[in-house]
């Protein structure tokens, strides 16, 4: 496996597409805007375009020509670069995970994209954009074999172990198509749709006094507004349907497979993605219940894990279960991540905290209402309708805030719009902070936050206005007096 290899020639096409994507804006600036100028001979523009296209193609070809990869001395070695030669050597034991994905172009030519992920964040990632599937499998097998074989004499044993893992791995979670539609239809897209619809309907209402002033045009305006509103609603509906469909395509045939040390998540209809997550890198899990799903008893579960890269936004927030019934959640979690307990009874925050939640809403609300009333005199008074809404929102946030300690697990739940429950192992919590303002101190309340590593930054669980003495319980759970760490 040590002789340098090139990517499949189709990588030239991928390079071209990539540089066109990067060049769209400058291209528009250079080509389209001067197009309106006079005084430049007509043939200049096509010439410039032709030169740019030639440069892009030439560059893409040279990049392909110069890009080689090989496996040598326990390292994965990539050499690339047209003008600046880059050599990137990645040691096997630095490799976190190997992901294989297929874009549309790759699928047409039955190729795959291989992504070698390392701990070092974005720059250390190696991407082989187009190689044959058999090659990818061979690299994958070779590297994982090398990684496992610390001792050359143990190799046979490891092979046996490998086979066992393959035999043991089983599909533990599958998202069915109807579930997927439900997931896509109740995702954030709904919120966008509803708020848009409300905005347009309110627009329609405001047109009514407008109509009275221009009596002559009454019919026309009535028709016009009606058609406009109808059109806008249809457009919104179309956007909503498209958003739903694209999400269904993105998460189609969502499957989670568990082996002894890894979780493999694969999904996608047009672009297939497979994500391999080492279980020991998992820092916690996060259960999200949005406004629509919570009343229906549905939730989305994310994995927080230390890894992923900046360039690949999707590797930073990983869905474990796109949509699951809350009552089935515990069973499924037990199959995949048995250390996590999701079915605990959360300890609520005290009643006297409610007034603080309402108070915090009014802190923002009073200036907003004041400004609206001041500047839009007759209609601004409608903003007082925000008051019950804000109180209701504050009440929901108060009701959904809670905490629990379950053996080595800390659970913190809170709500902004969606309810978030973050479940963290003690040994994964990086730091805990609790703070109290003067007002909180008077009521013996405090706000607690706990941070775990997630992707390249952190994920923070928070409960505002919990009992101060509960904070101290959490603190002494986090740092027991005698032991350094009970692991």
């Amino acid at each position: 496996m040590s002789d340098p290899k090139r990517l499949h020639p189709i990588a030239v096409l991928l390079n071209i597409i990539k540089s066109i994507k990067e060049l769209v804006i400058p291209f528009l600036l250079v080509v389209v805007i001067p197009g309106k100028n006079e005084g430049i001979p007509g043939w200049i523009q096509p010439l410039v375009i032709a030169i740019i296209i030639l440069l892009i193609i030439g560059n893409a070809f040279l990049q392909w020509l110069r890009f080689t990869y090989r496996i040598e001395e326990g390292e994965f070695r990539i050499e690339s670069g047209v003008f600046v030669r880059k050599k990137r050597y990645i040691k096997f034991d630095r490799i976190h995970s190997i992901d294989i994905s297929e874009g549309i172009i790759q699928r047409v030519f039955s190729l795959v994209k291989l992504n070698i992920e390392t701990a070092g964040g974005s720059q250390a990632d190696a991407v082989l954009s187009a190689i044959r599937k058999s090659d990818a499998d061979r690299i994958n097998a070779y590297i994982s074999e090398e990684k496992n074989a610390y001792n050359p004499f143990d190799r046979d044993k490891d092979e046996v172990a490998d086979n066992e893992i393959v035999a043991k791995s089983s599909s533990v979670f599958k998202q069915t198509l109807p579930q997927l539609f439900a997931m896509a239809a109740t995702s954030g897209a709904v919120g966008v749709f509803l708020s848009g619809a409300v905005a347009f309907i309110s627009q329609f209402d405001e047109m009514i006094p407008f109509q009275r002033i221009f009596k002559d045009y009454e019919d026309f305006i009535e028709m016009g507004t009606f058609i406009l509103t109808l059109f806008a609603l249809v457009a919104l509906l179309a956007v909503y349907v498209l958003a739903t469909l694209s999400m269904v395509i993105k998460y189609a045939s969502f499957t989670v497979i568990k082996t002894d040390e890894e979780i493999v998540i694969s999904r996608g209809l047009l672009e297939k993605r497979r994500l391999t997550i080492p279980i020991h890198k998992i820092q916690g899990i996060r259960i999200m219940e949005n406004l629509i799903r919570k009343p229906l008893g549905l939730a989305t579960v994310y994995i927080e894990y230390a890894g992923g890269s900046m360039e690949d936004k999707e590797s930073l927030s990983i869905m474990l279960f796109p949509l699951i019934r809350k009552k089935h959640l515990q069973g499924k979690i037990l199959e995949i991540l048995p250390v996590y307990e999701t079915d605990t009874k959360m300890k609520p925050i005290p009643k006297r905290a409610l007034s603080r939640y309402v108070f915090r809403k009014f802190l923002y609300l009073i200036p907003i209402i004041g400004a609206l009333v001041w500047f839009f005199r007759p209609w601004g008074y409608l903003s007082f309708l925000l008051v019950p809404l804000a109180i209701f929102w504050a009440y929901m946030q108060y009701r959904d805030a809670g905490w629990s300690i379950e053996g080595n697990l800390l659970l913190l739940s809170s709500r902004f719009f969606s309810k978030q429950t973050l479940i963290m192992q003690r040994s994964r919590i990086q730091s805990i902070t609790y703070k109290k303002s003067w007002f909180q101190n008077r009521k013996e309340l405090a706000t607690i936050t706990a941070s775990i590593k997630s992707g390249i930054t952190s994920r923070v669980g928070m409960v505002a206005d919990m009992e101060e003495k509960d904070c101290l319980i959490i603190k002494s759970w986090y740092l027991p007096e005698k032991a350094v760490d009970s692991q």
Partner: protein, 174 residues
């Protein structure tokens, strides 16, 4: 799992009033006052510029009145009140197994970092801190960054050594 519950109730009321024992350097107060002064001088320069323009172009005077009022209030807060309250609040303690930090002005914030979570420690010195022979200590975990500002240079160096020695006792995968 069950014995964990018994641990969790061991820490009763007296803990509540126990603050971390070390304060940061006295000179921090001076440094904060100077940096407050610098930020205020920018506001004052703007105020004076507006004043000059007001006189030249005969603008309404309430704008300059408001600006002077704002500048005065800001000066009082940034140079006198905030540095002294902040200094009084700032406390830290580095124990064998954890780092305990208390900070805040109107909201008191208490942070706990277990020693085994510490990834690395740095000391840092800006021009102002160097002039007063101070340094700040930055403690990084895998996910968070915590800063103890303005310690005496010797103390900061010692703290950095101590933390990095204690932190490296137990290596663990993030």
């Amino acid at each position: 799992m069950d014995d964990d519950d018994s641990i969790s109730i061991t820490c009763p009321e007296e803990e509540k009033h126990m603050e971390p024992e070390n304060r940061i350097s006295n000179k921090a107060l001076t440094v904060w006052k100077i940096s407050g002064l610098i930020s205020c001088s920018i506001t004052w320069i703007i105020s004076i510029a507006v004043l000059v323009l007001t006189i030249i172009f005969d603008w309404t005077y309430w704008v300059i009145g408001a600006l002077v009022l704002i500048s005065t209030i800001q000066s009082y807060l940034a140079i006198f009140l905030i540095p002294s309250v902040k200094w009084k609040r700032w406390r830290y303690e580095v124990r064998n197994t954890e780092i305990d930090i208390q900070s805040g002005i109107f909201i008191i914030k208490r942070t706990l970092i277990p020693m085994i979570r510490v990834q690395h420690v740095e000391t840092k010195q800006g021009p102002l801190l160097r002039k007063y022979d101070l340094a700040s200590v930055e403690i990084s975990t895998a996910a968070t960054l915590h800063v103890i500002p303005a310690l005496d240079l010797a103390e900061a160096d010692e703290l950095r050594h101590y933390i990095s020695r204690m932190a490296s006792v137990e290596e663990e995968d993030v």
